[in-house]
Structure formats: structure tokens, C-alpha cells
């Protein structure tokens, strides 16, 4: 069982009944959480975007999270203030903002680093949106997209002074920004931070105003596919894309994600990836056309790496006395278990849900790709008898959803990123263990050459027990769907002791 959770921040808007609606207009990707309370510990990309309207009651209800600024924070904030930007995605034809994030100037010529998810709405639908910035001093202008790194959730944009525009975008600033701009510098990679060191995250939370959040460097996030810095401090929607600085005011990371279930559990993209993007994109010409070919290229590279690393890891056993069940290593996935109540008179089960930490890569407002998940349920129907077990076992096998019919997309009226799935099914043999296997594929419409794979497996050897498993790979190339399907199916068999 999976459910989606509104990504509104813990402070205020989460309690706003309009949350559901505002999450449609805002750039808040889905967060798939697994059906257990502790499983909430999945990083949700984005400190995303602020709710566009804030009611006074929401303001009042906000818990006091910002402690009085320390002298250090004050100094950092003052020094960095004019190098900060609010990055706004506006509807093309009017001044309404669809979402907001933050950014920071890294080049005297007006180059700005922000998150890919802050500008993805514009990147994917430039005919509907435009990008603009507002600086702490109040000046504003348009932004051009130069380059992006979807896997690391980074984008490089260029500030256009008021008067200049990208396309029809017109800045509304009072004064032409002075060139050269003051810039924030990256901390040298040769100087690692120590755990517990004070760091400062800057940005414009919830579209209220520029702010600094103080917190601690806590090493790298465990089990993340790409390195992410664990920031023990607060990040709010709207601060996405803002910088996190060390005590010397040098950039160590880019605000990226928060953990809504946690307190002050946030994640940063390490500065080295922003530096690389800056090097790569410094001389790039603005991206004005279709962004999908480049996004596809990046996703193809991502999936190649992901699948290669995944296939290199042997399955670990589930410890089932009868069956060998494929459960992934927890190198970059995390598994959560749950089970039926012991006193239940009905079907007994134990389940395991493994998802990649940090979700996937955004390809639309709510559509993520480039991720794997593995799940299984081991059933014991000895209290039910063969007929009742067959009934319950069938019901469970029937109760599966597939990508294109994703109810959330249907609910929001968002077209699917993929075609409807097509499936093949049969009884297959795994070292004498008979399985029923269903393999479904769907193709991405705009990301040519990428597919979603779902494999459903159920053992059909016993009257009152069995295992049902599901493997999902989103956004992999066709050869990899075949490799992964085989790898997953080969993970089943009799347990050695059977």
C-alpha cells in the first residue's frame, strides 16, 4: 500500500485546507511514502515552492522555528544578502507566480545557481511559463536557462537586467542591476567539513522574505544514490536553490530537499556539482527550444549508471524458510517491513518495501523517474484453508496499480508521461519453483527510448502459503528493462534449506 502525502511544509500551510489545491499550482513533486509511520524517512525533493497565499491564521500558527540570530549568522547574512535571488516561475501571460524558489549569484556576469526543480516547470513548458528574479534589494528582472543537471537537481540561469528580456519577459525592477555582480564563492573541495560544524542556509522561505537558517553539517545522507549533505537545520519551501554557506561565507551546498516527517532534517546538493555545472554552462547559449532531448540524454546516462550499480549488487535473502525472495541491498535503497497482527484469524503476512532514498528525477510537475523499487509480501494462510487462501491470494494479486493510470494524475487532470502499459504473463519455472509472472512495459511519450517496467510475481506451488512480489523500474532503456526483469525473476527460487 502506498499513499501520497501533500508536500506542504510543517510550518503552517500543511494545515491549510487549500493545501491540496495549491499543490496543483505549485511545483511540488509527489512523495511516495510506504505504509508505515517510520517509513516517512524518505527525503522529499524540495523545499519546493511556497503557498501563494498565506492567511493570517497560518502566520499565527507557525511554530517558532527561527532562533535569534547568532552574531555569525548575522555576519553571513549581511555579506551574502545582495548575492541572493528569489527565482520565480510566472505564468507567461500574466504576473501570477506559479512557484518560487531561491538562487545565488556565482559569476560576476550574473550567472545564478538554483535547483532544477525550481525551474523545471519553465524548462518543460516554456510556452506557458517564464522565469524572473527578485533580489533582496527589490530589483528584479528576467532569467534565462543556460544549463541543468536533473540528476543532481541543479540549474544554471543568467540574470537579464531590466529592459532586456528572454522572449517576451519584461523585468519590473526599478534600477538596472549593477555589473559586475558580487558573487558567492565555492568552498574548496580540499577542505572537508567536520560533523557538527555550524552552517547557514539562505533563501526566501514561503515567499515571506530573505532569511538565514542556522544548522549543523551532519555528513552525507546515507544510502543516497547521489551524494547529498545532511543538514541538521530547517529548510522551508521557497528556499530551494538557495546556498548553504560555511562560517567563512563560502558555498558548501545548494538547498534541495527536506524531510517533512522529521524535525530539521534537510538535504543539500554538494557544491562540487554546482561548480561543475557552472564550468559546463558558463559559455552555453540559452536553452530556448525543446528541453526534452537534453533531459532524455541526462536520464539515459542516469539509468545506465543506476542499473549498472544495481545489477552489480547481489540480492540478499528475505530469510523465508521456503522461498528465495529477491530483496535489494540497502546501498542506495531502504527497506521497511511490516506484518499482520499476530492474533489475526485471517491471512498472515510479512511485507518488505524497498525504495530509493530521495525519490527520483522530476520530469513534470508530479512525475518522477529514474528510480527503482522492490516489494514483496510473504503470506501464510494456514489458518484459512486452501480455498479461502486462494481467494485472499487472488485479491492481493489483483490489487496493483500501474503507472499510466496513476490515480493522482487522473485526479489532477495531468496527462500521463507514459503510454498505457502492455503486459505479457505466463507460468515460469525457477529451479523447479512455479511462478506466475506478469511483466508490463510502458514507453515515455517525450523521453524517447525510456520505459517503465513493472514485474509482478506470485508463487503458485502451495495450497496455503506463497509470496507475491513486485519490481518497478521507472525510466530505463529497453535493454535494461529486459536485464532488470530477468535479474528480478532470477532472484526467486527455493530456499536452500527447503
Amino acid at each position: 500500500m502506498t499513499f501520497t502525502r501533500c508536500l506542504e511544509p510543517l510550518t503552517g500551510p500543511a494545515r491549510d485546507p487549500r493545501c491540496g489545491r495549491s499543490s496543483i499550482v505549485n511545483q511540488r513533486p509527489r512523495l511516495l511514502l510506504l505504509g508505515s509511520a517510520i517509513a516517512l524517512a524518505v527525503a522529499s525533493p524540495c523545499a519546493g515552492a511556497a503557498a501563494p497565499q498565506q492567511s493570517p491564521s497560518v502566520e499565527r500558527d507557525r511554530p517558532q522555528v527561527e532562533a535569534p540570530l547568532s552574531p555569525g549568522a548575522q555576519r553571513i547574512f549581511e555579506a551574502a544578502r545582495d548575492k541572493l535571488l528569489q527565482v520565480r516561475t510566472l505564468l507567461r501571460e500574466q504576473d501570477s507566480q506559479a512557484s518560487v524558489g531561491s538562487g545565488f549569484i556565482v559569476d560576476a556576469d550574473g550567472l545564478v545557481i538554483t535547483n532544477y526543480h525550481v525551474v523545471s516547470q519553465f524548462a518543460l513548458q516554456p510556452q506557458r511559463y517564464r522565469l524572473a528574479y527578485t533580489r533582496a534589494g527589490g530589483s528584479s528582472g528576467a532569467l534565462q536557462l543556460l544549463a541543468f543537471d536533473a540528476a543532481h537537481d541543479l540549474a544554471l540561469v543568467r540574470m537579464l537586467p531590466a529592459g532586456e528580456s528572454s522572449g517576451a519577459v519584461q523585468g519590473r525592477g526599478e534600477a538596472t542591476p549593477a555589473r559586475p555582480f558580487g558573487v558567492l564563492h565555492f568552498r574548496s573541495r580540499a577542505l572537508p567539513l567536520a560533523n557538527g560544524e555550524r552552517i547557514y542556509s539562505l533563501g526566501n522561505p514561503l515567499d515571506i522574505g530573505f532569511a538565514v537558517h542556522e544548522g549543523n553539517y551532519s555528513g552525507l545522507m546515507q544510502r543516497s544514490f547521489y551524494p547529498r549533505i545532511f543538514f541538521a537545520g530547517a529548510l522551508n519551501p521557497g528556499t530551494s536553490g538557495g546556498p548553504t554557506l560555511d562560517r567563512e561565507g563560502q558555498v558548501i551546498g545548494v538547498n534541495s530537499a527536506t524531510q517533512p516527517a522529521g524535525q530539521q532534517v534537510s538535504f543539500l546538493v554538494p557544491a562540487e556539482f554546482a561548480e561543475e555545472l557552472l564550468q559546463r554552462g558558463r559559455t552555453a547559449s540559452p536553452i530556448t527550444g525543446d528541453v526534452y532531448p537534453e533531459l532524455t540524454r541526462q536520464l539515459l546516462a542516469h539509468q545506465a549508471l543506476l542499473v549498472q550499480r544495481f545489477l552489480a549488487l547481489p540480492w540478499r535473502g528475505a530469510g523465508h524458510p521456503r522461498y528465495r525472495i529477491p530483496v535489494p541491498q540497502e546501498d542506495f535503497m531502504r527497506c521497511w517491513g511490516s506484518s499482520s497482527r499476530a492474533e489475526s484469524k485471517g491471512l498472515q503476512f510479512e511485507r518488505s518495501d524497498c525504495e530509493m532514498e530521495g525519490g527520483g528525477i522530476l520530469v513534470g510537475a508530479f512525475q518522477q523517474t529514474g528510480r527503482l523499487s522492490v516489494r514483496h509480501e510473504a503470506y501464510d494462510g494456514s489458518r484459512l484453508g486452501a480455498l479461502r487462501f486462494a481467494q485472499a491470494y487472488s485479491n492481493s494479486f489483483r490489487n496493483e496499480r500501474f503507472g499510466a493510470g496513476d490515480f493522482r494524475n487522473v485526479l489532477l487532470g495531468i496527462g500521463s508521461a507514459t503510454t498505457e502499459p502492455q503486459c505479457q504473463e505466463s507460468f515460469v519455472d525457477r529451479e523447479g519453483l512455479p511462478l506466475r509472472a506478469v511483466v508490463c512495459l510502458s514507453a515515455y511519450r517525450k523521453l524517447k527510448g525510456l520505459f517503465d517496467l513493472s514485474v509482478l510475481v506470485t508463487t503458485v506451488d502451495a495450497n496455503t502459503q506463497g509470496v507475491q512480489g513486485r519490481f518497478d523500474a521507472r525510466g530505463v532503456d529497453f535493454d535494461n528493462t529486459m536485464r532488470l526483469a530477468r535479474y528480478y525473476l532470477d532472484g526467486y527460487g527455493w530456499n536452500g534449506s527447503h
Binding site: S394, T419, L441, N463
Partner: protein, 327 residues
């Protein structure tokens, strides 16, 4: 005087309204008072029909149409003024809106239908079918309930089913009161029980066969089979109300069923690009029922290879459709 024949005047539901004995031939039928059989129908001419005994061959009459605007309808044939035709004994014809039947002395009679025995057997059959249906539903509930579930998990649903069956049959009974002037509850109940049992068992058999033979399509077609059988049930109900229109009713429901199936298929195709809603066969029976052999993993994966081209084609098509609809 010897009774040579009987002319029966029938109402819309083929019930005899009155019968005129014939003691001599020919017999005239019309609105005029000098006719032997006088009709009140405004669509009938003064002298509409003349009936005379057939000179040779088996018992029959010769019908001659008189001078009329509307003519005489015999089956699908319309007889104009002056035309005549030979009718076998027991034939019906229509003058204006009135249907008439000619019975002849010496014609062969159908055997007497036994009354009580048949009714008893039918009642027994209906009771048996009702018991079977309740048992079936109880069985389904038993499958879904956890062991040791009390009677409260069964009785409300069973009573609900009983009520639904009674209400359905009563409604059709009311229909028969409307069309046939008497309330016929049992024949409709009998029909309903038979069809529901058939629908349930065909559905279960298809699901099990789909598992046993590893033939997903057997499971996929269940929705359509259900629609066909429900159409057949409705057609049978209506046929009971209009026994003289059986063929027309069957044809109408066959067309209706075809329409429903095509709309259903077209909608599913539009939303899912496949004919059936079900994506895969989900019924898992106990292992002993599996007849199909297992195959190596590689064979299943090989069967996926052709999907690549069709999915890519589909993706292009979807994109083209979106582009058109945005324009």
C-alpha cells in the same frame, strides 16, 4: 345445427374477446350490420372479408378481401381488394386493428397440457434454484470471511439478496399485469434465478480456466460475457411479457447488446489502448488446478521484445494526438 367453424376475435394480447360460431358458408366480416361477424373497428370496411370453405385438400378456408382501404394482413402479406388466399385451419389474419382466427371443425387439436404436475415441478425447480443461489452467495461470503466469522457476517447479505431477487421479480410481475392482465411472479423469478446462477458459474469457470490453462484472455472476456448474459436475461423477461413478439424482442436486445459492447470496447480502447479493461489475469486457484506447464524465464522475456516497437509507436501516436488537441 352443425357447427362448421368458429371465428374468434382477438385483442392486442391475442386473447379471445368473443367467438362467432359458423353454421353455413360463406361468412362475411365487416362493419355493416348485414355481415355475419360485425366488428366495431373504425379501420374496417363495411364488407371487409369474405370467408368460404375450401373445396378440396385438408381442412381450410378461402379468404377473399373485400373493397377496403386497408386491405387484409396475413402474416407479412397484405391482401388488396378482390385478392384471395387459402388459409389452413387455425390461421390468423388482421382486418384494420382487429385480429381474427378461424378454427375449423375436424382440425387436429394440440394435446391437453397437464396443469398441476408441471406447476409443481416448476415450483420445485424454482425453490431449488433459489436455494442454490443463496448457497452460492453464502459460499462467496465464506471465502471472504475469516474463519469463525459469526452468522451476522452472512445473514444481512443473504436477506439483502433475497429481497433484491423478490423485488426484481415483482417488478417484472407488475409488467406482466400491465401487458397480460395477470401478475406472473414465478415465471420471472424462475428466469432470474436461472440466469444469475448461469452468470455466476460461467464467470467462475472462465476465471478458473484462465488460471488452469494460462490463458489470460479467458479472464479478460468475462466482462463481455456478463454483458451478453444480462442482455439475454432482459430479453427473456421482456419475451415473457410479449410472447407474440419473441423474435423482435430477441433481435432488439441482440442489437442493444452489440451496441453496449462496442461502446464499452471503444471507451476502453480510447483510455487504455486495449480492448479489455483487465490488464492481467489475477485469479489464482489452488496449485492442483494448474494444467499449463511452466516455461523458462527467457521465453516470457522474449515475448516482450515485440512490445518495444508497438510501445514506441504508441508513444509517438499519443504525442501526435496531444499536439493536435492543443492546437
Amino acid at each position: 345445427m352443425e357447427r362448421l367453424a368458429l371465428i374468434e376475435v382477438l385483442d392486442q394480447d391475442s386473447r379471445v374477446v368473443h367467438a362467432v360460431p359458423v353454421t353455413r358458408w360463406p361468412v362475411s366480416v365487416g362493419r355493416s350490420l348485414d355481415c355475419d361477424v360485425v366488428l366495431q373497428d373504425p379501420y374496417v370496411a363495411a364488407h371487409h372479408v369474405l370467408l368460404d370453405t375450401a373445396a378440396e385438400g385438408p381442412p381450410g378456408v378461402v379468404l377473399t378481401a373485400g373493397a377496403s382501404v386497408n386491405g387484409v394482413q396475413i402474416g407479412r402479406r397484405l391482401l388488396g381488394p378482390g385478392a384471395s388466399v387459402r388459409l389452413p385451419a387455425g390461421s390468423e389474419f388482421r382486418a384494420g386493428l382487429t385480429a381474427l382466427r378461424v378454427r375449423l371443425a375436424g382440425e387436429e387439436l394440440a394435446a391437453e397440457r397437464p396443469l398441476r404436475h408441471a406447476e409443481h415441478m416448476r415450483l420445485l425447480g424454482t425453490a431449488g434454484a433459489l436455494a442454490a443461489l443463496l448457497l452460492w452467495i453464502a459460499g462467496l461470503l465464506w471465502l471472504e470471511n475469516v474463519p469463525g466469522a459469526g452468522w451476522d457476517n452472512y445473514v444481512p447479505q443473504l436477506l439483502g439478496a433475497l429481497f433484491a431477487v423478490a423485488a426484481w421479480s415483482s417488478l417484472w410481475g407488475l409488467g406482466s399485469k400491465l401487458f397480460q392482465r395477470h401478475f406472473r411472479f414465478l415465471p420471472h423469478l424462475h428466469l432470474l434465478l436461472g440466469f444469475v446462477l448461469a452468470i455466476l458459474s460461467v464467470d467462475a469457470l472462465l476465471a478458473l480456466a484462465s488460471f488452469a490453462l494460462s490463458a489470460p484472455w479467458l479472464s479478460h472476456i468475462r466482462g463481455w460475457v456478463r454483458i451478453v448474459m444480462i442482455a439475454a436475461l432482459l430479453s427473456a423477461h421482456v419475451s415473457l411479457l410479449l410472447p407474440n413478439r419473441r423474435r423482435a424482442v430477441a433481435l432488439a436486445f441482440a442489437l442493444l447488446c452489440l451496441l453496449v459492447l462496442s461502446v464499452d470496447g471503444a471507451l476502453t480502447w480510447r483510455h487504455h489502448q486495449r480492448l479489455f479493461d483487465e490488464l492481467y489475469a489475477a485469479t489464482l486457484a489452488p496449485p492442483a488446478l494448474r494444467l499449463a506447464r511452466t516455461e523458462p524465464v527467457g521465453k516470457l522475456l522474449d515475448s516482450l521484445l515485440p512490445l518495444r516497437a508497438s510501445l514506441e509507436q504508441r508513444a509517438r501516436q499519443d504525442e501526435a494526438d496531444d499536439a493536435t488537441s492543443e492546437r
